[in-house]
């Protein structure tokens, strides 16, 4: 890489010398030589090449001054963004093909050149957060670079404005707009830099920094969206659709939308947390080993309990809610979950311990009456908050059709006969029976879900302990259950089938088992049988 660059520089220097020497040798004087050079296409090509290489060299020198060694990630990022920018510049050329001349190309090259430094500055400031040591050199470099870039941006904006005001719209519109975007970027970088710098000075944790960043993001993106919309409107009026601005515009709008959603949702989640969720009590804290699983540090006070009974530091939760509005442990969507009711807090398992909801559910299994014998079908686990993965809840118990013996003579008569009202009465009765059956099936599914969570404690496979240890979600259990399916060399086999499908065939297979233990045994036996059959099939196929 280095070698190649040196060789290219030397070759281009040599070529330039030859070309200039040749011109001077032929014309003997300065002006005729210049005229000769500018009229000769091959000579001009060499000169352009030389100019290009000079620009690259200057870029390298400036990079060395302001950034030192680039990290591989920064370099990769730079290359990737450069390609996009170059493609878009070429698209822009097509709109302004009438103005096409060397000066125009030079201006665009300069724009690209400055853009590259903006990107690098952005990456470098983002790196501040991760870097363990930030020296004085870093601060001096970043600040001077930002000032220089801001100066350049302002100068070009001013120039574009003056040019457009005096001579009417031209390609300067594009430059004015591009440099405005860049100056916004500088402001954004500067704010981030100041935040990080302040943060690194303070010893104490600064909790509102993430929130400030979130709002900055929102404001900056809003400004950018305004600029893009304005620019596109102006371009459409004067020239044509600025295709080259569409990709960055789309990306800006997307990030604006994301920033907006983040702000709205996180605000709602944090408000919920502050107002609705109770502070964890000392007993609950002790049950969770006093450890906040987000930061892995001790919880003494300021811990909040989510509707799913998981406990975290309020500060950690706030940071997490700024990204995701779910419980970190069980992924319950806190915005959709009902507010917790203190009355329901009787049968609580250790809130942060693994399988907390399951433990809760298990305690209820023996007490829940089997559905067919019950007079009315009760909702199975009144104390359990709705499990996160079961989108479908249990409907209220349907009316139970009266036994034939208890029907009055009048009601019986209504069921007989062939008139319309007799048929209606019979249909009504049939519908009631169907509703009952549906309810039983749903209940059965609930049971099997609970039971499916049981084998977790003993069946965990070494390679999957990671997934199961703290995640009481049904997904984990589904994985264990489908383990026997994992037989090599099948083209149709799915490593992680969706929970719904596996849950279904699972329930139909074993719908008659009621005791969890025998249920588990039968699953194991079934799985063993299945594995054996499949292996047999494969060996015969081969």
């Amino acid at each position: 890489m280095k070698m190649k660059a040196v060789v290219a520089t030397v070759i281009s220097l040599a070529l330039t010398t030859v070309v200039i020497g040749n011109a001077y040798y032929q014309k003997k004087q300065f002006y005729p030589s210049v005229v000769y050079l500018t009229n000769s296409n091959p000579s001009m090509a060499v000169m352009y090449l030389q100019a290009f290489i000079l620009v690259l060299l200057v870029g390298k020198i400036l990079r060395k001054i302001f950034f030192g060694q680039l990290r591989p990630a920064e370099f990769e990022h730079l290359i990737e963004r450069s390609w996009f920018a170059i493609t878009e510049t070429c698209l822009a050329f097509t709109v302004f093909r009438d103005d096409f001349n060397p000066k125009f190309i030079a201006l665009f090259t300069l724009l690209l050149f400055l853009k590259a430094f903006h990107w690098l500055a952005e990456d470098r400031v983002d790196y501040m957060e991760r870097s363990p040591v930030i020296g004085w050199l870093f601060h001096i470099r970043i600040l001077s670079l930002l000032m220089l870039l801001a100066q350049a941006d302002l100068y070009f904006i001013h120039h574009a404005y003056a040019f457009t005001a005096t001579k009417g719209p031209s390609v300067q519109l594009v430059f004015g707009f591009e440099y405005s975007i860049l100056i916004i970027m500088i402001v954004n970088i500067l704010i981030k830099y100041l935040l990080h710098a302040i943060d690194s000075r303070w010893e104490a944790p600064w909790e509102s920094k993430a929130a400030v960043l979130l709002y900055t993001e929102l404001a900056i993106n809003f400004l950018k969206v305004l600029l893009y919309v304005g620019f596109v409107a102006v371009m459409v009026r004067i020239y044509t659709l600025p295709l080259f601005a569409f990709r960055p515009m789309y990306e800006t709008m997307r990030s604006f939308k994301k920033a907006y959603n983040d702000v709205v949702l996180s605000r709602r989640a944090i408000r919920n947390m502050n107002t609705l969720y109770p502070d964890a009590t000392a007993a609950e804290l002790a049950a969770a080993d006093n450890e906040c699983i987000i930061c892995r540090e001790e919880m003494h006070s300021g811990a909040k309990k989510l509707p799913c009974n998981h406990i975290f530091h309020a500060a950690c939760l706030r940071l997490w809610f700024q990204r995701q509005q779910t419980c970190p442990t069980c992924r319950l969507n806190v915005l959709r979950a009902p507010a917790p009711e203190p009355a329901n807090a009787n049968a609580q398992a250790p809130p942060n311990a693994p399988h907390a909801p399951n433990a809760n559910a298990n305690a209820n299994v023996p007490h829940a009456p089997p559905p067919p014998s019950a007079a009315a079908v009760p909702p199975p686990f009144p104390n359990m908050p709705p499990p996160p993965m079961m989108g479908w809840g249990l409907p209220p118990p349907p009316p139970r059709p009266a036994a034939l013996a208890s029907l009055s003579a009048d009601e019986l008569r209504r069921l007989e006969g062939t008139e319309r009202r007799n048929v209606e009465a019979r249909l009504q009765l049939l519908r009631e029976i169907q509703a009952m059956l549906d309810a039983s099936v749903l209940l059965m599914q609930q049971y099997s879900n609970v039971v499916a969570n049981l084998p977790l404690n003993c069946n965990t496979v070494a390679t999957q302990t990671d997934l199961n240890r703290t995640e009481p979600s049904p997904e984990a259990s589904v994985k264990v259950k489908t383990e026997p399916d994992v037989v090599p060399t099948t083209s149709t086999y799915k490593p992680t089938p969706g929970p719904s499908t596996s849950r279904d065939d699972f329930t139909t297979d074993d719908a008659d088992t009621t005791s969890p233990d025998s249920f588990r045994d039968s699953i194991d036996a079934d799985a063993e049988e299945l594995r054996r059959r499949r292996l047999q099939k494969f060996t015969t196929e081969k």
Binding site: D126, E129, R130, P132, V133, D199, S200, P205, W206, E207, K209, A210, I293, I294, C295, R296, E297, C316, L319, W320, R323, Q324, T326, P328, T329, R331, M389, A462, T463, Q464, T465, D466, L467, R469, T470, E471, S473, E475, V486, P488, T489, S491, K494, P495, T496, G498
Partner: protein, 170 residues
């Protein structure tokens, strides 16, 4: 705040991994100056085509860890349906909910602060044992895994020997 808490949590995890290491896995910061870059050695799971190999990988943590997942990349040659040609690992636990490069993962399997380095590495071990050929980070490897297992095993064996510094099999 973030950098500080991320650092403390990484230190806690490092301690935990050192005191109580999971079987077949070694992990820790490349140097103690920078806790945001780790190196890990993963032993190929027994009974699979990667058995016996010792695969080095590097983990890069974001400044807001554990709110965002780290990135993981094998630094040896790998041939696996869920590992990109450049060594980056593509498993759902390493993706933040919201970004889904392959468009098939449910958010329940994604990153959350409850996850940890240990869990990631264990997931990677289980990924080595059971590739998910639906998410083709390496399409060639996924195809070969499905259609020509013998060839796949051969390549795996070569890689295993390579990580051990042995000459390729005859």
């Amino acid at each position: 705040m973030m950098a500080g808490s991320a650092l403390r949590r990484l230190m806690a995890e490092y301690k935990q991994l050192t005191v109580n290491p999971p079987e077949g896995i070694i992990a820790g910061p490349v140097n103690e100056e920078n806790f945001f870059e780790w190196e890990a050695l993963i032993t190929g799971p027994e009974g699979t085509c990667f058995e016996g190999g010792i695969f080095p990988a590097k983990l890069v943590f974001p400044p807001d860890y554990p709110l965002s997942p780290p990135k993981m990349q094998f630094i040896c040659e790998m041939f696996h349906p869920n590992i990109y040609a450049d060594g980056r690992v593509c498993i759902s636990i390493l993706h933040a909910p919201g970004d889904d490069p392959m468009g098939y993962e449910s958010s329940a399997e994604r990153w959350s602060p409850v996850q940890s380095v240990e869990k990631i590495l264990l997931s990677v071990v289980s990924m080595l044992a059971e590739p998910n050929d639906e998410s083709g980070a390496n399409v060639d490897a996924a195809k070969m895994w499905r259609e020509d297992r013998e060839q796949f095993n051969k390549i795996a064996e070569r890689l295993v020997r390579k990580t051990l510094g042995l000459p390729p099999p005859e």
